[in-house]
């Protein structure tokens, strides 16, 4: 998954069309990214990538880098 694709997805899930992310973006640096919207982010990521994450993985996806690292594998 490319950074731009993840950004599109986050814009949709977080309902913020001007959201800009980079590799250093984390759950703490995006106002709309909280534990509840995280839930929908994960569900949408599963949908897009066709995979199913474990509960442990879901809990580690708290930064853009962590998500991209995992999905590249």
């Amino acid at each position: 998954m490319k950074l731009e694709e993840l950004q599109d997805l986050m814009r949709s899930v977080f309902q913020n069309n001007s959201l800009a992310i980079n590799e250093n973006t984390t759950i703490d640096s995006v106002a709309e990214w909280d534990s509840l919207s995280h839930l929908n982010l994960v569900l949408e990521l599963e949908q897009v990538t066709g995979s199913r994450f474990t509960t442990e993985q879901i809990q580690t996806f708290t930064s853009v880098q962590a998500i991209l690292d995992h999905i590249k594998k």
Partner: protein, 595 residues
């Protein structure tokens, strides 16, 4: 958005496409209070969007997480910060009962537990409705999780999870009296349609107390939006149908009676199932009509003699099989049935006819039959106007009444004097005061009656209950029987009493019994009853709407004096009962039930 098609239909769009979709301009704005045992925050964007597609701009205000009891009963509660248009009460089996969550308890214990939860739950709903002064949608229960343990026994044993949940949901229905301000929000059928495994997400439940998968969030949001819209929007009443490639496949005028596609195999079976669904809707109180460009004889031949035809001539309240413009036809159906066009659904396969109807009458909900007949039934899943919160026995009887009305209009032609016609109807009027047993019907009439309605005040069930109890209000109603059948409760008036004066606010009558002098006899019975209670003068008013033109001169013709300051939109009236004509017409026999 009055044209409904399968393509790009919001009811079929998945998550992100749905969020990006455009909603029509809202017809109304509402505030909904949410009492919940679980996390619903993640569903709210979908829910707001689906409400938007129903024409409603909704604000959802959430109660505390798993604090339903506190929100309903604590000294301070967000429920006091109304006004609310509705309340959602969302419980969860896992929070309520381990016994019913599928651990194969003993049957007697299961039933006992189900009953006690249901009683508690409904009592909470009733208290919430009172505190919020709004109808409550109480979710029924779904299994606590997909059934992994002893799956074969969960439905097969009387105490298994499937039976336990069924027993609980049945107990919920029994605990509701079915007429109050608490309705069931049916999540169980949602799970049956979509499957627990596609709706539920165990990980999200344990991490965030959010029970739904992405698909689950969507189907949940749709179910809730649909239930709310049923209560918040004006209901549709009449389904107007094209024939060729709608009720059956092919063109009867070209393919002939035996050439049309209608039967028990593909593709005819889809049309047959479509007709069966329409018949079910008719039994729920919808009226069916035909509006088709065809020779009438060809259409009647199918209705009467095609072996696979489900809908017969008597199921249709009006038929227009001719070569006229369908827009003109639908207007004449609207006149014949005395129903406003905004209560119509029009179903046709042609782009042209659908477009034309939408442009001429955007208030009509137009549904285009999809190209592929195996998808016809899917469209029903998207039509919010097709739902009913409560099916009253009145709804079920209405069909018969309209069919009888057709007979009545026909026999009217054969009398020379209209009085002879009235007399031939053998009318019996049951006049009632403060009849609490009909409270659901009284509120329903306030919500639905448009044409013979002097003030169109939309009193809720709670309002009606207050009037029934209040010593300073009298609630009058009547039912009417004639030789064709029982029309049920068809009239309502509410009088506020102060000393020797009474004020008539609501005065309405169902269009089923228009044009047979019931209204003026009802009014005179009310004046007589008021006189018996020492009332000297009665005031009343008429507020004009787009639909109640029928009532324009009602009070004038009944001898009321129109007061200065009245204009076309609002008129005030007064009458001294001593001056009023209180004679009842000889052709209506009165049966009085005084409370």
């Amino acid at each position: 958005m009055s044209l409904v098609q399968l393509e790009n239909n919001p009811w079929f769009l998945a998550g992100r496409e749905l969020l990006a979709s455009k909603t029509p301009a809202p017809q109304r704005k509402v505030r909904i209070a949410v009492l919940r045992a679980y996390t619903v925050e993640s569903c709210l964007p979908f829910l707001r969007k689906m409400m938007g597609h129903c024409g409603i701009e909704a604000e959802f205000v959430l109660g505390g997480f798993n604090q339903i009891f506190q929100d309903v009963h604590a000294q301070f509660s967000f429920l006091d910060q109304g006004p609310w248009d509705a309340v959602l009460q969302l419980g969860m089996l896992a929070q309520e009962s381990e016994l019913l969550s599928g651990f194969l308890g003993e049957q007697a214990l299961v039933d006992e537990e189900a009953k006690s939860i249901a009683t508690r739950w409904v009592a909470l709903g009733e208290a919430a409705a009172k505190r919020a002064d709004a109808p409550v949608f109480l979710s029924n229960f779904i299994p606590a999780a997909p059934l992994n343990v002893a799956e074969v026994l969960q439905g097969g044993s009387p105490a298994g999870a499937v039976q336990a949940v069924s027993s609980l949901n049945r107990a919920l229905l029994d605990a509701l009296d079915g007429t109050g301000n608490v309705h069931v929000l049916d999540l169980m059928s949602m799970c049956l349609s979509h499957g627990m495994r596609t709706v539920f997400d165990d990980r999200m439940f344990h991490l965030y107390r959010s029970p739904f998968s992405l698909n689950g969030q969507l189907v949940f949001s749709r179910r809730v939006a649909r239930a709310l819209a049923t209560r918040l929007l004006e209901p549709r009443k009449c389904i107007v149908l094209d024939c060729d490639n709608t009720l059956w496949g092919g063109i009867v005028g070209e393919d002939g009676l035996n050439g049309i596609l209608l039967g028990d195999d593909h593709p005819g079976v889809h049309y047959r199932n479509f007709q069966k669904t329409l018949l079910t809707l008719r039994n729920q109180g919808f009226l069916l009509s035909i509006n088709t460009k065809n020779n009438e004889n060809d259409v009647f031949a199918v209705l009467e003699s095609h072996p696979s035809q489900v809908l017969k001539k008597e199921h249709f309240s009006a038929v227009r099989a001719n070569w006229e413009d369908k827009v003109l036809n639908i207007r004449s159906i609207s006149e014949e049935l005395s129903l406003g066009l905004n209560s119509f659904i029009f179903i046709d396969d042609s782009d042209f006819e659908c477009e034309k109807m939408t442009q001429a009458h955007p208030e009509i909900m137009v549904m285009q039959v999809p190209d592929s007949p195996d998808r016809i039934l899917e469209l029903f899943g998207t039509l919010v106007g097709l739902d009913r919160v409560i099916l009253t026995s009145e709804d079920q009887a209405r069909n018969r009444q309209y069919t009888q009305n057709q007979e009545r209009s026909r026999s009217a032609g054969s009398f020379e004097r209209i009085e002879d016609f009235y007399a031939s109807l053998n009318m019996f009027m049951d006049f009632q005061v403060d009849s609490t047993k009909d409270r659901a019907r009284l509120a329903q009439m306030c919500g639905k009656t448009n044409q013979f309605n002097l003030t169109t005040l939309r009193h809720s069930q709670a309002d009606i209950d207050r009037f029934l109890e209040s010593p300073s209000h009298l609630v009058y109603s009547f039912s009417l029987t004639d030789r064709f059948g029982d029309n049920g409760i068809v009239g309502l008036a509410i009088a506020g009493i102060q000393d020797t004066r009474a004020d008539l606010g609501t005065f309405l009558m169902s269009c089923r019994v228009i044009q047979r002098t019931a209204e003026r006899n009802f009014l005179r019975l009310i004046l007589r009853h008021l006189a018996d209670r020492g009332i000297k003068t009665v005031t009343a008013r008429r507020i004009a709407t787009e639909k109640n033109g029928l009532t324009k001169d009602f009070y004038d013709t009944c001898g009321f004096e129109r007061l200065p300051g009245s204009d076309d939109t609002s008129s005030e009236y007064r009458i001294r009962i001593a001056d009023a004509d209180l004679d009842l017409d000889a052709w209506i026999q009165i049966r009085r039930n005084k409370s």
